[in-house]
């Protein structure tokens, strides 16, 4: 079983991100592997343990994004590839999907390509399905569990309406959600291996691609209006008295 897991590097959720001169700025906050993608790595490693094989982590980003790939290696991925090219700085999801698809083909394809559900930065959630489309592969998205057998993958999809069981023949593109299981902590050996790993950086010319022309572009970035809220604490002698006062306050706000 050959599994490619696609990850991204993003500012930590704790980071205070603001708009500065039309650009996102996260101060000195740490860049981390996209939290959703840790589940993708975890899901890939679970499948490797169940089926045997190898896990390859793939990432588009600047040279510094090698740290996110090293996290995947430390968790247990066997190898990693960075796609790094100045022409990829302004990339929309369509472009990202085509670049990832080309890289996956250069790697020689995979039985499963596993993504996280979405990223924390752009948060479009589009790249997964668009990569599946670019590769012409079936999409099994929002998987809370994955079972493989007889050349097929069967997943339990966690969707708005409930849980749906869906299968497809391999190779396939999958995305996983948190129910797949807590991402494992990097082991000491894993961290040592990752620190020594040579991660190749491929450019667009390595992939035989021209610089992608983004279709969706940002024209403006700004900070949301501040919410100046002071919390009014509701008190009372009994829970009933508190509840009555609170219900009256809420009804007076005319939100119901």
């Amino acid at each position: 079983m050959k599994i490619i897991t696609c990850i991204k590097q993003v500012p930590d959720s704790e980071a205070k991100v603001t708009a500065q001169n039309g650009q996102p700025d996260w101060g000195g906050a740490t860049l981390v592997i996209n939290p959703f993608d840790e589940y993708a790595v975890e899901g890939a490693l679970q499948q490797k343990e169940a089926q045997g094989g190898e896990v390859i982590a793939l990432c588009i980003g600047p040279e510094s994004a090698k740290d996110a790939l090293k996290h995947a290696l430390a968790m247990g991925a066997d190898s990693a590839v960075l796609i790094c090219d100045p022409a990829l700085e302004k990339l929309d999801s369509q472009g990202a999907a085509r670049v990832l698809a080309a890289a996956i083909q250069k790697i020689g394809g995979a039985d499963m390509v596993i993504f996280g559900r979405q990223t924390l930065d752009g948060g479009t959630g589009l790249t997964v399905s668009q990569t599946a489309r670019a590769l012409g592969l079936p999409l099994l998205s929002f998987a809370g569990s994955i079972k493989v057998g007889g050349g097929r993958a069967t997943v339990e999809r966690v969707i708005e309406e409930g849980k749906q069981t869906v299968s497809a023949s391999l190779p396939a593109v999958l995305s996983v959600v948190q129910s797949i299981g807590e991402p494992r902590y990097p082991s000491f050996m894993g961290i040592r291996k990752a620190s020594k790993a040579e991660i190749p950086a491929w450019t667009l010319s390595d992939l035989g691609l021209p610089a992608p022309a983004p279709v969706v572009t940002r024209s403006e970035l700004f900070n949301p209006p501040p919410r100046n809220i002071t919390c009014e604490m509701i008190t009372g002698d009994t829970p009933e008295a508190i509840a009555d006062a609170l219900a009256d306050k809420i009804l007076a706000e005319k939100v119901l």
């Binding site: 603001t18 369509q94 489309r133 396939a172 970035l221 604490m233 829970p239």
Partner: protein, 319 residues
């Protein structure tokens, strides 16, 4: 502008934000509603009643279950022959994928989660959140058709005019699904958080008796016609399924009223609910960070306050 609005439904249950999208589309001129599925006459009729001038229906057994490849191929084939300028969709797990794949077929692009849409100098500009809503961006799509998915509850829902009708066009399905749907188990309680006007969420504070805690939270949500949410801590502890999770690795909700019961207010939860119109927090710990985001707070025991609040609302709302 030739505008299409994709009506999203699951087994005939229409996602209400589809109608909000229809209302936005009407602002740009006549609208064609797009309805896919098997046996979807009622969905098409509802589209007329919410204002569609034309409804284009691909009604085919091959589209009985939502399978993204077939839905996307059907949409891109229709768009290739009819050349709409704009395709609006409500934002759901399905529509991101349908739009994403169809845009790949048509060499165009998708703007997701738009909370505002305006025409500026002949260009359509969408406003959407980035970095978990910490910043807001305006984006444009330079190719055609422009796919835009709209955030639920960000736009008004048009009034329904019963019995209204219009031109119905039949379209052919492209049956190239690559997956098999083998089973479905409906969620036990309302987890359609994106469309909910009221969300009552539970957190680690239910830990003394999680079953009772979420029962009480469910009763309050029920009395207010709302949905039940949860913090990641409650989901991780196994108190409630992941589908209820609000926040970073869960859902983003924008209800008119959010009530957090026993939710401490970790940043991972806050990014999922801070755009609620009114935030109310009930927590034993008066220092819990959630109170910094709340308009009203109760420093008290949810096991006492929540049922009392349910009773107070029932009395006032005449239930």
């Amino acid at each position: 502008m030739k505008t299409w609005v994709y009506i999203d439904h699951f087994k005939g249950d229409i996602v209400p934000a589809s109608w909000e999208a229809l209302g936005v589309g009407k602002g740009f001129g006549p609208v064609t509603a797009i309805v896919f599925g098997a046996g979807v006459d009622a969905v098409a009729q509802a589209a007329f009643e919410f204002g569609a001038d034309e409804v284009m229906v691909a009604d085919d057994p091959a589209l009985a279950d939502f399978r993204v490849e077939a839905y996307a191929s059907t949409l891109s084939a229709l768009a290739a022959s009819h050349a709409p300028h704009l395709i609006l969709l409500p934002t759901t797990t399905r529509t991101r994928e349908v739009a994403g794949m169809a845009a790949m077929d048509l060499n165009s692009g998708v703007i997701t989660d738009a909370s505002a849409l305006e025409q500026s100098g002949g260009v359509l500009v969408a406003t959407r959140p980035a970095y978990e809503g910490k910043v807001i961006e305006k984006v444009t799509c330079s190719a055609s058709p422009q796919f835009v998915t709209l955030r639920a509850r960000a736009f008004p829902k048009p009034a329904r005019e019963t019995g209204r009708s219009g031109a119905l066009t039949k379209a052919a399905a492209v049956a190239d699904a690559k997956t098999s749907v083998e089973g479905f188990a409906a969620a036990e309680t309302n987890v359609n958080l994106a469309d909910a006007g009221v969300v009552v969420a539970g957190g680690r504070g239910v830990s003394n008796d999680p079953g009772l805690g979420f029962k009480l939270i469910g009763e309050l949500a029920g009395a207010l016609g709302g949905a039940v949410g949860a913090s990641r801590a409650a989901v991780d502890a196994g108190y409630i399924p992941y589908a209820h999770q609000v926040g970073q690795t869960g859902k983003v909700v924008t209800p008119d009223l959010y009530i957090g019961a026993g939710v401490s207010g970790a940043i991972q939860h806050i990014v999922g609910m801070r755009n609620a119109k009114l935030i109310v927090a009930i927590n034993k710990d008066a220092e819990a960070p959630i109170f910094q985001f709340a308009r009203y707070g109760v420093a008290g025991d949810l096991f006492q306050v929540v049922p009392a609040l349910t009773a107070a609302f029932k009395k006032r709302l005449g239930k």
